[in-house]
Symmetry: none
Subunit: 220 residues, 2 copies
């Protein structure tokens, strides 16, 4: 099983990452400053480092440079705020493999983590299918009962989450954190709205409502 080192000082984002990655079967270790990140990253215990660029004590960029200087080839995924997006170039120069700007959707992070771990673990299939729904992850094409459907970004993200957990009941909160990110207002009715639009595009019978619990993708 792949092990992931998370270097992130914002407790909110960190807990979001730890829980989400654990739920997908990865072991995580969480550190909160650049010094620890460098120490742990220098061991051979991890298959991936998720590195916040704005860490205390020592910045993510410094950590990355130090690791690369020591010859560590560990894949590194950089997290950066909008405002510091220009730092990304330096990080890629310094040998980062990929980056994401905050706020990010969890599904997107998962996709990138999977891509980076492809050599280590099982690789990501090209097509996801559940019940009448097929998602082509390369082309982002969606079909229902063989019929092509065009979805917007959010609609696609939400459907992808449902398909990945097909048959399971997912709460509004779970769907929000996967398809939107950690940065959501709990009182929003966004999920309801997007389920509604998805139903219009996919047909009424594809997504089931479990009153009081959440939604579920029909697998039959």
């Amino acid at each position: 099983m792949a092990r992931i080192l998370i270097a992130e000082d914002d407790p909110r984002i960190a807990s979001f990452l730890v829980k989400g990655l654990a739920a997908n079967g990865w072991q995580t270790v969480h550190v909160t400053d650049g010094e620890q990140a460098e120490q742990y990253g220098a061991t051979d215990d991890f298959n991936l480092l998720i590195l916040d660029i704005g860490l205390p004590v020592r910045s993510g960029l410094e950590v990355l440079r130090a690791l690369r200087t020591r010859g560590r080839r560990l894949p590194v995924l950089i997290l950066t705020g909008r405002a510091r997006a220009h730092d990304v170039v330096d990080c890629l120069d310094a040998g980062a493999d990929d980056y994401m700007t905050k706020p990010f959707r969890f599904e997107e992070l998962l996709a990138r983590v999977r891509a980076r771990l492809r050599d280590v673990g099982s690789d990501e299939p090209r097509v996801l299918a559940a019940g009448p729904v097929r998602l082509d992850l390369w082309t982002r094409q969606v079909t229902v009962h063989g019929r092509d459907v065009t979805l917007t970004g959010r609609e696609y993200a939400l459907l992808e989450t449902l398909v990945r957990h097909a048959g399971r009941v997912l709460s509004r909160e779970q769907l929000l954190s996967h398809a939107w990110g950690y940065d959501f207002d709990p009182s929003t009715n966004l999920v309801n709205v997007y389920v509604s639009t998805l139903r219009k595009k996919l047909g009424e019978d594809v997504i089931e409502t479990l009153r009081g619990f959440g939604y579920r993708l029909r697998t039959t």
Copy 2:
């Protein structure tokens, strides 16, 4: 699977090469000075050597001469900066098979790598086709729905990238790194502009926009 030895001391270019070649299914080994290049190149483990001319410890030219003196017939692709373009003649004399001047476009590098590996692995077809588009890689002729179209260099590079990954959604960054190179400003709107001009020449329906994600070449 073909194995490629990369001898390049600029970490930026090296990481660009390693990632890009790996993504195309080649195994790479990366060394950063002329001494290592010579040691690794002397083994029989590689099908191609990508050799920077300005390496520390021992220059690319020295490495090349040493390998050839020892009777190694390994194909060698030279990388050279603009300023040192005159060294190319010496390298070709010393037995290099091909060369590129920095900065270079990734697609161009790929084409040369494919050409050099032709004997070893699968060989490159002469014509690429996807949907209504046909590219003749030898003559650089382009047709859409059978109609001839003339493209500038960049337009061609961008279209080639789209055709090589036809149907897949490619992000702006992926397109930039393939059609422009490692040396791009992530905030540029170049891709947008060139997609726009390509659409004018090829027709509106050939390249599809996936809002928030990138572009895709229609395969139907």
